[in-house]
């Protein structure tokens, strides 16, 4: 009788490695989630106490040991809107140019891609310095919402360009050809077919960039953020307070740590809630686009 091809117990080892590997993957995934929940729970635990209507609608008072954080909330929302106004149009149009117009193998695209990749690796404090030199000093905007928005816009530009490009890259060429073959121009094809198809994914990129912008401190340090500016800004040339900077200020140079610590946690909690709300809104917007596209 011929020897069996597979010896007895041949499959024990591979099954054991399988179980071991998946066990590890599972434990690691769960622990990541647990850590996230721990951070979130800690901030809610510490910050929820101060969170009430007055905290959200009043300016800080008594040397920032009492009162609310309303100017910082408004400031952060303004900076997010301002940076979006800068980065979204420019970033989306660059992404379209890179994927739809420019020759894929040409040096222009490779150069732009290299630059955007490098740009996204630049530390945000460097953006802050650059923003100060260009917008605050050279263009004379002063420490202002305008200068801060432009700086934050530049910071989020690489991410917006990149996600737009990736979103459009995944759309099959057959769809483009179908449109061109009907006598549509390339612009019509992009505007009516390609861009709507890419929109759900582009939106995801935009939201990620907004989330990043909302939490950045370094870029607005020298370009916009005010230590204490209790009234609301009246023009784009005003300074404003911002949540991350406010958090930094009262945690590092406070006068009364005991009184200020709850405010710091409350501020952190508000920041997290803002990002959360924006993520939810983005999800709804994405769903809406998908429904309108009738992909499903």
């Amino acid at each position: 009788m011929a020897a069996p091809v597979f010896p007895k117990g041949y499959n024990i080892k591979k099954r054991r490695s399988q179980a071991l590997a998946f066990g590890m993957f599972r434990i690691l995934s769960i622990s990541i989630v647990l850590i996230l929940f721990a951070i979130l729970g800690f901030i809610i635990y510490k910050g929820a106490g101060v969170l009430d209507w007055d905290f959200l609608t009043e300016a800080p008072s008594d040397g920032m040991t009492a009162g609310g954080i309303m100017p910082a909330i408004v400031g952060t929302l303004l900076l997010m809107a301002g940076s979006a106004a800068v980065a979204f149009p420019v970033g989306i149009m660059s992404g379209i140019y890179m994927n739809e117009y420019a020759s894929k193998t040409g040096w222009t695209v490779r150069f732009i891609r290299l630059m955007t990749n490098n740009l996204s690796g630049v530390p945000s404090i460097v953006f802050g310095l650059f923003g100060m030199a260009l917008f605050v000093k050279y263009l004379g905007f002063g420490d202002s919402i305008l200068a801060g928005s432009l700086t934050l816009g530049l910071l989020s530009l690489p991410l917006v360009i990149r996600t737009t490009e990736e979103a459009l890259k995944d759309i099959p060429d057959g769809i483009r050809e179908g449109s061109l073959a009907l006598g549509a121009t390339r612009l019509q094809t992009i505007w009516k077919v390609v861009l709507p198809m890419g929109m759900p994914r582009i939106i995801t990129g935009l939201i990620l960039s907004l989330g990043r912008v909302s939490g950045e401190t370094a870029p607005i340090l020298f370009t916009c953020a005010a230590y204490f500016f209790p009234q609301l800004p009246t023009s784009v040339f005003d300074q404003c307070m911002a949540l991350p900077y406010h958090l930094y200020v009262i945690s590092t140079s406070g006068t009364d740590i005991e009184a200020q610590q709850p405010i710091a946690y409350g501020t952190a909690l508000v920041l997290i809630i803002i990002v959360l709300i924006i993520n939810i809104l983005a999800g709804m917007l994405r769903k809406w686009f998908e429904r309108r596209l009738k992909i499903k």
């Binding site: 020759s103 894929k104 193998t105 099959p172 057959g174 769809i175 050809e177 179908g178 449109s179 061109l180 073959a181 009907l182 006598g183 549509a184 121009t185 019509q188 009516k192 077919v193 709507p196 198809m197 596209l293 009738k294 992909i295 499903k296």
Partner: protein, 250 residues
Amino acid sequence: MEKIEARDVNFYYGDFHALKGITMDIPQNKVVAFIGPSGCGKSTFLRLFNRMNDLIPGARLDGKILIDGQDIYAPGTQVDELRKNVGMVFQRPNPFPKSIFENVAYGLKVNGIRDKKFIARRVEESLRGAALWNEVKDKLDASAYALSGGQQQRLCIARAMAVSPSVLLMDEPASALDPISTAKIEELICELRSQVTIVIVTHNMQQASRVSDMTAFFYMGEMVEYDDTRVIFTNPSKEATQNYITGRFG
């Protein structure tokens, strides 16, 4: 009367010589089939008629292609005008992620038609023309993606016919479809021949013999033989053609 005239067409992808000195006439309101093994250049040739190869970097054309006597590669040619007149149906159904109605209306809209009543009428005519109306008339607002593959391909035919082209290019239109859907597409081709000149690339020789008036056999970038379909399939003059249609091809 000749609808399309190709004059000594040579086409290159970079250094690769894809089409070698092809000259042929395609008569008006006929169905002409291009057959040949994969990579023989038949699709490349087809895509020259609506300048779809313009998009390929490093591609180059020598020779002339005339449609209705006009050199379509002459400087100053309006490519969008050309493509409106020379419709195309692709191998894979490629409906837009829009409603059934919007898919058919798309070509009218991008060419500047705004009259809603006219568009609605034209959409219905085109869907009827593509034998799809009865299946979709109650769900014109539904996604085109909800249709089966065969229905999607007929939608693409309706979409192409909506802008009333005078030539319809079909690049293996049934190769991704089941036999019943294929039969429907073939029926459609036979009905559309009164309105348009049809050029169809196919791997399926039965299909070529069923639907076409004339057949061209391509091999290695050359057009080996071009004649009445009956002649090609019963009494070809070239040995290579004979070998290919009898499946003895090496």
